[in-house]
Every structure is written in C-alpha cells, then in structure tokens.
C-alpha cells in the first residue's frame, strides 16, 4: 500500500511582509515561495526532478501575479506530469492543497508533490479587507446587508455556548493564554510574548464577548509541504509522518442552518472525525495531540469537544486546567494556534500540517509533545460548516 507521507517542509515565520503599492522595493510572493520550495526539497532529501505535481493554495486577491501555480512552475522551471493547479475554499483553501497533494500519491500520478501556500494581506487595512470578507461568510443578499463579519458568527457561538453550558468568559479566555504559551516556544509564531488571563480580559472588544487576543490577528505567511509516496519516504532513511486516515463532512449549510439546530455542535467536525477515526483504525483515545483550525478561542473549544478530545461543555475548562496544554493529557494547538502563531488564512492549514509533522518527527524543540505518535489535523470553513481531518502517524526509518 502506497500511503502519502510528509517528507519535508519549510515555512516563513508568520508576520507582516506585504508591501504597500507605493513601496520602493516590493516583497513579491514568488520570490519568497521559491526559496521555501528549495529549502523544503532540501529538507526532504529528494531532487527537483522527483517532483511531478504542484498543488497551490490560491493566493489572496491582493497578489498581483495571477495564475500563480502555473507561474510558479515557470519560475522554478518545474516540469510536471501529474498536475499543476490551485485550490480554493475559504478557510479550507490550503487544506485542500494538502488534501489534493495526498490524492496525487493515492492516484499514483506522482511520487513527490509540492503543496504550496502564500497569503499576503497586511498592507490592506482591516476595514477595507473586510469589505471583501462580507461576501465570504453568509448569504451575500440575505446576511451581508446586516453587516455580519466572519468572526461575528464565532462570537455568536460563544454567546450560545456560555449560555447553554454556564461557562464564564474567563474560561474561554484561558485558551488564548494557553496558546500564547505554546507560541512562545515556536520560532514561526507571530506573537511570542507570554500573556496572562488579565491581559486577555483587558483587551478592547472586537465582537462580544471576544476581545482582541481571542480573535485572529492579521498576518502574512507562506508554507511549503513536500508529500511523497511511502516507498519514497522509506528510502530516505529518516523520520517521516504518514497520513493514516482522513475524514470530511460538509453539513449542507452556509454559516447557519435554515432549519434551527444546535449551531455549537459543529456537526461537520463530529461527522468528519467519526470517518477519520474509522478510516485510520484508531479511536479518539489514541490521539496524542491535535492541531486545529480555530480562529477564535471559542472555536478551539467547540471543535475539540465535537471530535471527542474534550468533554462536552468542558472544553474551555480543559484549557484552564491544563489538560490541553503542552504536558497535559491532550495538547491542542502546540504551534500557538491561530491567535498566537498567527493566521494568514489561505496558508494557515499548511502551517497546521507543518506543525503536526514537526511533532511527529520529533523536530518541535521546546514544544515537543513527548512520545508523539498520532497527531490529528483539522481544518474548516465557514462556521465549521465543513471540516477536513487528517490523522498522521510518526514513522521511523
């Protein structure tokens, strides 16, 4: 059986790279990404000529170079006989690049595949940036006219969760403290200075009840993950991670279900995880750590409950009690998560895959999860209307 494996990776620290239109010297996406590709292929220990597919997350609309994947094939003079393509799907954009890269291996079309993502947006002010995001989350004619913002849906999740489970806001806020501690140990993280619960609670409100440290910061980033067939991975005589299971579910709703349901159940995550655990032949108890796409504190809580990592109604308390912290029973978001490692949205899922691989190959340094054997990677779109889960396993040569 030829399972797909991660054999190499490279990423920029999440930060601010995008230059304004009037800059004397611009930072351009293809220059950044080309260096990362070379680094990633070197870290994998394979040759340029081994690569036969490029799956690229579609960059932001601010990226001037269009048809970016085919432009990158040119820029790197990479001839490919598998496929060269871009993926798009809101928050899942780079997760689809990862997933389609795996498919190239599973279909036998390629032995080595590049999954690429770059997200540049920070020179565009938030109020301008959000003009476009109005169109992404919700019905453009029946929701957007009311002024819903992408994270306003998560804020409403938080209000409902606190109401139903009698959870104080301080418990939700503790997720931000926990993730900042993780980020302090991650050289790729955008925000690394440790913070206290008081620091989180005193920030200005963005969407009630969530303050500045409980919502995603704006960030630029780029990440490359090299995927190969397991026979190639084995031949390299070094640790790698293999994709052992996958699950996907779209609940057939966009932000809200027009038939009232429990919005905070995250049905897509529940269903995708059931599929992924079965597909991998594992149970939730076998998972050693998880890297979860969670733009806000509440989202990590609801997502980890939905896939069974924490108990229903207890997810926020689990962060407070150290259960989901490094060294706890089930560390979640060891990278620092979206609130602290940073969130360049169309690249974030590849950063998540990068972190899972770092942990499984024992390359996570100070934030290493002891004896990490099985890692869960989950990405999403909308208000967790769709979830895509991969379960990866550590393999030794």
């Amino acid at each position: 059986m030829n399972r797909p494996a991660i054999i190499g990776s490279s990423a920029l620290p999440v930060g601010r790279y995008q230059t304004p239109d009037d800059a004397e010297h611009h930072v351009v996406e293809h220059e950044l990404l080309a260096k990362l590709v070379v680094d990633a292929i070197a870290s994998a220990g394979v040759d340029k000529s081994d690569v036969s597919s490029i799956i690229c997350a579609q960059p932001r609309s601010y990226t001037r170079q269009k048809y970016f994947s085919t432009f990158m094939a040119n820029y790197l003079r990479l001839q490919c006989e598998g496929i060269v393509m871009e993926t798009f799907g809101n928050g899942l954009t780079a997760a689809l690049a990862f997933d389609k890269a795996l498919d190239e291996i599973l279909l036998g079309r390629a032995k080595v595949v590049l999954a690429l993502a770059i997200n540049m947006e920070t020179s565009t002010p938030s109020s301008e940036h959000m003009k476009d995001s109005l169109r992404t989350t919700g019905d453009v004619d029946f929701h957007a006219p009311s002024g819903f913002t992408p994270i306003s849906w998560y804020a409403m999740d938080a209000m409902r969760y606190m109401h139903e489970y009698n959870v104080p806001r301080t418990a939700l806020a503790s997720v931000a403290v926990k993730n900042r501690r993780h980020a302090s140990l991650n050289p790729l993280a955008q925000y690394r200075d440790p913070i206290t619960l008081e620091d989180v609670l005193k920030q200005r409100t963005i969407v009630e009840p969530l303050g500045l440290y409980e919502v995603p910061p704006r960030g630029d980033g780029a990440c490359v993950v090299v995927i190969a067939s397991e026979d190639v991975a084995k031949s390299l005589k070094k640790p790698y991670s293999v994709v052992r299971g996958r699950g996907f579910f779209h609940e057939g709703a966009h932000q809200i279900n027009e038939v009232p349901n429990s919005m905070i159940d995250f049905v897509a995550a529940q269903r995708a995880s059931a599929t992924a655990y079965a597909n991998a032949g594992v149970t939730v108890a076998d998972i050693d750590f998880a890297e979860i796409y969670a733009p806000c504190t509440i989202v990590e809580v609801l997502a980890s409950e939905a896939i069974g990592l924490t108990t229903r109604g207890r997810g926020a308390f689990s962060a407070e009690e150290g259960v989901t912290t490094l060294g706890g029973a089930i560390p979640i978001s060891t990278s620092g998560g979206l609130t602290s490692r940073g969130h360049p949205p169309y690249a974030t899922p590849l950063y998540n895959a990068y972190e899972v691989n770092e942990q499984l190959c024992s390359m996570a340094g100070e934030r290493q999860v002891a004896d990490a054997r099985l890692g869960l990677l989950m990405n999403e779109l909308g208000n967790y209307n769709a979830a895509l889960i991969h379960i990866l396993e550590a393999m030794s040569p």
Binding site: S127, M130, A155, V207, V259
Partner: protein, 160 residues
C-alpha cells in the same frame, strides 16, 4: 409586521432577482413572505425557486409569522468600511416559530431585553432605498411609534 422608516440608504444593499422581488416588495409593504414547497410542504428561508429539501420546483409564496426567539447575538465593534459609521451594532440569529432560522440586525434592544431565548419579532426597516429585515425584542418599553422611530434611527446611524 412592524415597519420603521429610517433616514439614509442601506450600507450594503441586497440584489433583487425576478424571483426574490416578491419577498422584497412584500417586506416594503410590511409583509413577511417566503416559499413553501408544494410537494413536501417545507418552508425555506431565504426564499428559493427550488425546494432545498426535496428539490421539487413547486414553490409557493406564503406569509409567515414574524415571531421567534433569539438563539444568539453579538455586538460588533470592528466592521467593514461600509458599516463603520454604525459601530458598534448588534446582529443576531432568530429562530422563528415556523421553524426557520434567520440572521439579521437587532435594533431597539436594551440590557433587560437582549437575552438569549427571549421572544423577538422580525420587523422591516424602511430605508430610503428599500427595506431590510431586523429583529426587535418583544418585551420592549411601550412608548409611542415616534419614540420607536427615533430609537431605531439612533441604533442605525447616530452612534459614533
């Protein structure tokens, strides 16, 4: 349903199609309508020319009750440029008694009335360029309609 004229135009106006025109025109006249499937009887919102449940194309227009409960809400303090003048403003999710979920602006709220699971009703805010749905708490201070109008204008425009 209640209608509240207000000054100004909608910050991000919806597109009207030849199909949804019936909804928007009705809303302009203070009537809440949507589609019901002639095959499976399911209501749907927003109105659609095809039933999303059974995919039949036997949709019929029907008037529905504007009454429901507030499933959740938030107050937005950072918004797209089009909405920055209205900041902060409240949006919510309303579960109608007819078993439909609607997301819209909340207006004329107060600390006492803005509660999850509280009774709310959908109303039409009549802007100069057309209507939008909004929700108001049912247990509100009963004052004059004029007072209402002023309150809603305050909610929509006069905060800064």
């Amino acid at each position: 349903m209640k209608c509240f004229p207000t000054a100004g135009v909608r910050p991000y106006p919806p597109r009207v199609t030849s199909f949804t025109a019936k909804f928007w025109q009705s809303l302009q006249h203070g009537q809440l309508v949507t589609t019901r499937c002639g095959a499976c009887n399911a209501l749907t919102f927003p109105p659609k020319p095809v039933c999303p449940h059974c995919w039949a194309d036997k949709q019929e227009w029907t008037t529905i009750s504007p009454n429901g409960v507030l499933y959740s809400y938030t107050r937005i303090h950072a918004a797209p440029a089009q909405f920055s003048q209205a900041l902060p403003y409240e949006v919510g999710i309303v579960d109608l008694k007819e078993n439909l979920r609607v997301a819209c602006r909340l207006v004329n709220t107060s600390k006492e009335t803005l509660r999850l699971d509280a009774d709310v009703e959908l109303v039409a805010i009549q802007y100069e360029d057309g209507p939008l749905l909004a929700a108001i708490p049912l247990q509100i201070r009963r004052s004059t309609d004029i007072k209402f109008l002023t309150d809603i204008s305050d909610m929509l425009y006069m905060k800064s």
